[in-house]
Symmetry: C2
Subunit: 350 residues, 2 copies
Amino acid sequence: MYRPMWDRFLRACRREPTDTTPVWFMRQAGRYMAEYRALRAKHSMLEICKTPELALEVTLQPLRLGVDAAILFADILLPLEPMGAPFEFAKGEGPVIHQPVRSRADIERLRVFEPREGLGYVLDAIRLIRRELDGKKPLIGFAGAPFTVASYLIEGGKSSSYRLTKELMWRDPDSWKLLMTKVSEVVRTFLRAQVEAGAQAVQLFDSWVGSLAPEDYREHVQPYVAHILQDLEKTGVPVIHFGTDTTSLLELQREAGGTVLGVDWRLPLDVAWQRIGYDRAVQGNLDPLLLCAPKEVAIARAHRVLERAAGRPGHIFNLGHGIIPETPVETVQAVIEAVHAYARPPAPTE
Amino acid sequence: MYRPMWDRFLRACRREPTDTTPVWFMRQAGRYMAEYRALRAKHSMLEICKTPELALEVTLQPLRLGVDAAILFADILLPLEPMGAPFEFAKGEGPVIHQPVRSRADIERLRVFEPREGLGYVLDAIRLIRRELDGKKPLIGFAGAPFTVASYLIEGGKSSSYRLTKELMWRDPDSWKLLMTKVSEVVRTFLRAQVEAGAQAVQLFDSWVGSLAPEDYREHVQPYVAHILQDLEKTGVPVIHFGTDTTSLLELQREAGGTVLGVDWRLPLDVAWQRIGYDRAVQGNLDPLLLCAPKEVAIARAHRVLERAAGRPGHIFNLGHGIIPETPVETVQAVIEAVHAYARPPAPTE
């Protein structure tokens, strides 16, 4: 019996040839799906994250749409609680950290914990999902990158200016170093533990790093990201290095590491890949809002992304950021089918 | 008697040599100044905009800090009311447009008005400010660019995703064209009227255009911006073409027009200027948050921007976006002084 290539996502991460372009979406398990909303009517976000059976259920929900990988249902802020900075998701406001980290003493109080103790429920969920999925779809684990996580810790939630974060970075570089070192150690050991529990790839989300000038990134962020990524690459699983609004940071992000580099929609994929270098795989880069456009427009634009990948092995189709709640499921499914049906040209031979 | 070069800003816009690098700041009249807060305690934002004597007072407030240009105190949303889409500034929420523009009928109802009738108070303020300033500082007028203004009209306020704006653009390109044509005509005639009333330079604020992929900018936005800028350049006054988050749009923005191109902090100024071309002046590009850093850090980073300008005529020092309310006035003043005191190298001769 014919069985489609179950691991085309993992092969593409390693720039190996695949039968077709693999596709998955950030926030592919989320409010845009009726079955997710039904579960969320009964359980809070944190309840789902902390209950492996529920995390399993939500992680599997989008697989019926035909994506080529499952991504663990969790949140980049989960490490905050065991670090000693609990938070909640306030209705319509996003995360609220009860006692933001503002002073040297606050930073010193933060705990670098053992993932098996502080986040055992995530590792249990990974083991459960792997048992369910094995040989059917690969499972991606993830964590937030140090700058992005630090910005939540300092600002107390999502910020529009990152004022307090940047202020700390410039005003007190020693305390910044201590904070970044602690967060990095938490992230590194957490991702390592996810791989040991069975994650077949991991993604580092540096979602807000695009707010920095390149020289600030180089001095205050890149070393920590490099430390995490280079350690993770030693495990042998593909590591996806993701950010948004990073048009001017791509070379520095590549330098920091990652088997796969994420590219958002602000740069055409061919231009981005050339700048990153063809010795890395790339992931992207449809504007997530295009999934709210008419189906034929979304498909035409997905084709444009695929044309720019030019048949080169090592392209994973994705959005530039997460699916938004208003997205019609039908369009998501249509784009997945269009990506799989696309007839790629032979890869260029440079 | 020695008189410092009063028009160094205008000369730099035309890439003529100046005694030192001119500097002004977006939102230089604003909440970070005690005298502004005192006036706002008595008058609403819209009251100040609509009362030429108050607009004059606020426009002049930051001049004591040593900036090289005054910018008219107004708001990019002022044209909305005479277009038939009134709005207010809700406390802590930013602008709220009472009846957002969502349908073809809504767009058809929008009025393209005569600036002298709909926005006569702005033109009166310009005449009053010019009388006060003449020969002391140049006066900059401004307006919002079509995409940015259209996004407020459609979303009903500031958006984080521009979902409805992009949806309209992709779903109903004909209605999008009609909306952009109407907004562009309002912006073009309003800027022309500002120049006739005495504005010595004008800035087009395309603050949110960086949310677009380059191909969407090229197809759905660039033609309208080009129409406005190329018409305005015929008046002979310098035209500043400003956006944020436009690292991947710079060439397309240059193509659309502008005597001066705005560059935000995400790209080093030398890299940006090379991409834009040395036949245009550039404005920027300090991260506005650096004015909240310790004074010596802010000054060191201002020096870095000036080094990258390399003594080439045609650099106007500015931030990548507006001054935020938490900024200490002393740092603003210190950076202005540091820019003026900076010893520029001789211009390169390519």
